[in-house]
Amino acid sequence: MIALVILALLGVFLMMSGVLGIGRKSAGVVATLGIGAALLANTLMWDKDVTALNEMFNKMMIVDNYGLAMVGVILASAFGLFLLSDKYFSEITNYFTEHYALYIFALVGMICMVMYNNLSMLFIGIEIMSVSLYILAGSNKTNLASNEASLKYFLMGSFATGILLMGIALIYGATGSFYLSGIESHFVDNPDSNNIIALVGMFLLLIGMAFKVSVAPFHFWAPDVYEGSPTFVTAFMSTAVKVAGFASFYKLMYICFTPNILYWESVVWVMIVLTISVGSITALIQTGVKRLLAYSSVSHAGYMLITILTANEDSDLLFYTAAYVIASLLAFGVLFLVIDAKGDDKVESFNGLSKSNPFLAFSLTVAMASMAGLPLTAGFFAKFYVLTAAVKDGYIYLVLIAIVNAMVGIYYYFKVVIAMFFKEESSETISISVSPFYKLVLTSGILATIVLGVYPDLVYNLI
């Protein structure tokens, strides 16, 4: 909660600081430190008695360890990204303070989304986040693709928001409550109720959330938006935004709709299969790494969706998001530099990277191995926990399909690794200069991936 206050104030301050004529460097430092402070404040709340705090806003928001852990992942990923952001922000010549402010506001929205206890709070959180993202997606104003991304995202996003809002309204009509506990107790009290309004409301909510987290068949916006947006925005969307979306989606389904899981079980089952398959099969034929990561993020969304179906271990989702976020940070960290040096993100641009820049090649290899789920990386245990929970609940076929897609996944992730290690660079070698600080951030990402791959309990046992 204090994190929320810090970020909100920080956002307002940064927005105004343009008027005060603050320099870009100092704005960047303030924003990064601010996120760091929010992360710290968030961590300090861990395991504290927060009943008084929770009462403060009529329980519109609830601070609990689940929320704190998820917000921790979000803030940590944003913090990590900002540490790698110097290049990106230095190319923005105008209105840079507003850029910083938009990211901070998006984070504010995400915290609301994760900690919500009331559907109106969820809606407000999603809106705060989305509006910032619509602008950021189009922030490369002179680039046609960026404009397209922004418009597409905006249109699709507002449709989704509309559907979501309709769902909230119907649920309120049927259950008489915006509160998660109120909705839950309605369904618990009427287990056999086939109240059509409530069910339609529930499915509209499901669809609205599925849009936001790019789950098939509502994923069509994602690849174009991811590709068109500035790479930094893409990284932000596929890490922090994705985690926030899933954290709130999970909470919604887990708390409110577990009593009538029979109604949506098969729907979500189909969604998972579609998401994983569409994501990984389409990723197979991509030639650009950015787009490949976009589809892979769709595929990962499918795995995260499994946690909603099994819905008994919060830790599964927490660990999956943590592993995925770290791997994404590493991958995008390298991608930023390669795009900057080679001018495009084709797989061929990575040819011979192991010679010109072994460190970057190694970082990206660790990231790809983790995303593919190879042992000794965090990604292995992420998939392992999720799939174990699914088998435990009897979803054998789902697990088999997921495993087949994991095989496909190895193929496309290793396409990049092959390019880096086994292929020669066509033109002359461009050595990419990496600042020691940047190296430090990537090294900590590598270490985190491997440590979690050897000793996952560090994160898994948190909640």
Partner: protein, 484 residues
């Protein structure tokens, strides 16, 4: 503790090698390999005093109730010895070659050795799987980065093939975990499953192991990978890595799918025997000597697999000792192939000939190792193949007769290769054949000595694993049990 040292020492050594720079890497790596060998001898001496002193049990993943459980039994010790014996030999065998990024090359070899030891000492299924997969990553880079023509395509096929097999196994592992609520070896071997459960588990595990060995018809990645990988990579693959599959069958497949293991034995043995003949016939037709040895390896492994699934004490005893013997022999032969290729620039039988005139010493070593490979009495190959065929004969006489062809066909392709490569008139390719260097002589002497010592006095090696094989057979293979 010594078990942990065996796993983690090569890991630390691999980091040191990586940091030591390209010029010193091979020496540091050799040193590391030798220390590792000494460690394994210490483990051997401890094993002979008290095997249980090698067991380690540490809490690891509390969320799943998984412990870090390792230990060494009579079968494990043979493979641990094989690994730590071959790794320094493989490192020494590369001394005449210069590799780009040598530090990374040798670091990967040591890293792989760590993972291989891990596979052979794990008494926890999840731990086993992690080491199993971890062993794949270094060999993938070794074969892909330092390999020959077409390496990218070939190694990628190998990589995908084995990983797909492993993922089937992963499904099996998750399933068996949910039945037993444990990954622990003792719990799993006491687990009672229904026949159909055992059947499914059998195939899930078997595919992973069969691809690794490889058993016909899962072998299609093997000839190309062996041929394109650098010599050291081929030695790692054929000398040690394929034993992972055989070992996996003994350690995990037998206790988990007891009844299914016995009743599916027929099918597997038939395929294994087909593989024996198929590999041998194709080996006869090869012109490329490296490819010839690759096919011969399919044939030899087919026999080991057939013995494995015949599941009697003799055949299992044979397959364990043959794992060691085959590992040593195949490394020796691949090394000879490599040194011929390095000197003449070709591996084609047609172009070679008459090397004996220039390098008589080489031809002596070649004969010894070759005879070991064709299982002449008093060589190490004979002990294993004799036990295997004997055990297989008890299982089914007809199959044993067909499998016995392997010895005849093996003699055909090996002698044909030897005759065409070493004997005859020297030609312009082989007339400038340089004499053996010191490191080559050391490698070949060690290997030839092992071939003869094991052949003359196999009792020591057989005694190592005898007790554990006996208890394995009497507890799992003598009677089929599953819940109807």
């Amino acid at each position: 503790m010594i078990t942990l040292a065996l796993i983690f020492f090569p890991l630390i050594a691999s980091i040191l090698v990586f940091l030591s720079g390209n010029n010193n890497a091979k020496k540091v790596a050799l040193l590391g390999g030798l220390v590792q060998f000494v460690l394994s001898l210490v483990a051997l001496s401890k094993y002979q005093v008290d095997p249980s002193s090698l067991a380690v049990n540490q809490a690891w993943l509390t969320s799943l109730g998984v412990n870090f459980t390792v230990g060494i039994d009579g079968i494990g010790i043979v493979l641990v010895l094989l690994t730590s014996f071959l790794i320094p030999i493989i490192i020494l065998s590369t001394f005449e070659r210069e590799f780009k990024n040598a530090a990374a090359f040798y670091a990967l070899i040591l890293f792989m050795s760590s993972a291989l030891i891990g596979v052979f000492v794990s008494y926890n299924l999840l731990l086993f799987y992690i080491f199993w997969e971890a062993a794949l990553i270094p060999i993938y880079f070794i074969a892909g980065y330092w390999g020959g023509e077409d390496r990218v395509k070939v190694t990628f096929k190998f990589f995908l093939y084995t990983i797909i097999g492993s993922l089937f196994m992963l499904v099996g592992i998750i399933y068996v975990y949910l039945q037993a609520r444990s990954f622990d070896y003792t719990t799993l071997s006491a687990l009672e499953l229904t026949c159909s459960q055992q059947g499914w588990l059998f195939w899930a595990f078997f595919i992973a192991f069969a691809i690794k060995m490889p058993i016909f018809p899962f072998h299609t990645w093997q000839p190309n990978t062996y041929t394109t990988a650098p010599a050291a990579g081929t030695m790692l693959l054929s000398g040690i890595m394929l034993k992972m599959g055989i070992f996996g069958v003994i350690r995990w497949l037998v206790p988990i799918s007891k009844a299914a293991f016995l009743c599916n034995g027929d099918i597997v043995i038939v395929f294994a025997v087909i593989g024996i003949v198929y590999g041998a016939v194709l080996a006869i037709k090869q012109d490329d000597i490296k490819r010839l040895v690759a096919f011969s390896s399919i044939s030899h492994v087919g026999l080991i697999a057939a013995g494995l699934f015949a599941a009697n004490e003799l055949s299992l005893q044979g397959s364990v000792i043959q794992m060691f013997a085959h590992g040593v022999n195949v490394v020796g032969i691949f090394f000879i192939v490599d040194l011929i290729e390095r000197r003449t620039g070709t591996r084609s039988i047609k172009e070679l000939g008459g090397i004996i005139n220039q390098a008589p010493l080489l031809s002596v070593f070649f004969v010894i190792i070759m005879l070991g490979s064709v299982a002449l009495p008093l060589t190490n190959g004979f002990v294993g193949e004799f036990l295997l065929l004997n055990g297989l004969f008890q299982y089914h006489a007809g199959l044993a007769a067909v499998a016995g062809l392997s010895i005849i066909l093996g003699a055909v392709y090996m002698l044909k290769m030897y005759q065409n490569v070493m004997l005859g008139e020297s030609n312009e390719v082989t007339s400038n054949f340089a004499p053996l260097t010191l490191s080559e002589i050391i490698v070949l002497t060690v290997i030839s000595a092992t071939v003869i010592i094991m052949g003359v006095y196999p009792k020591y090696f057989l005694d190592l694993s005898q007790a554990d094989i006996h208890s394995l057979v009497s507890s799992h293979c003598s009677s089929a049990s599953c819940i109807k």
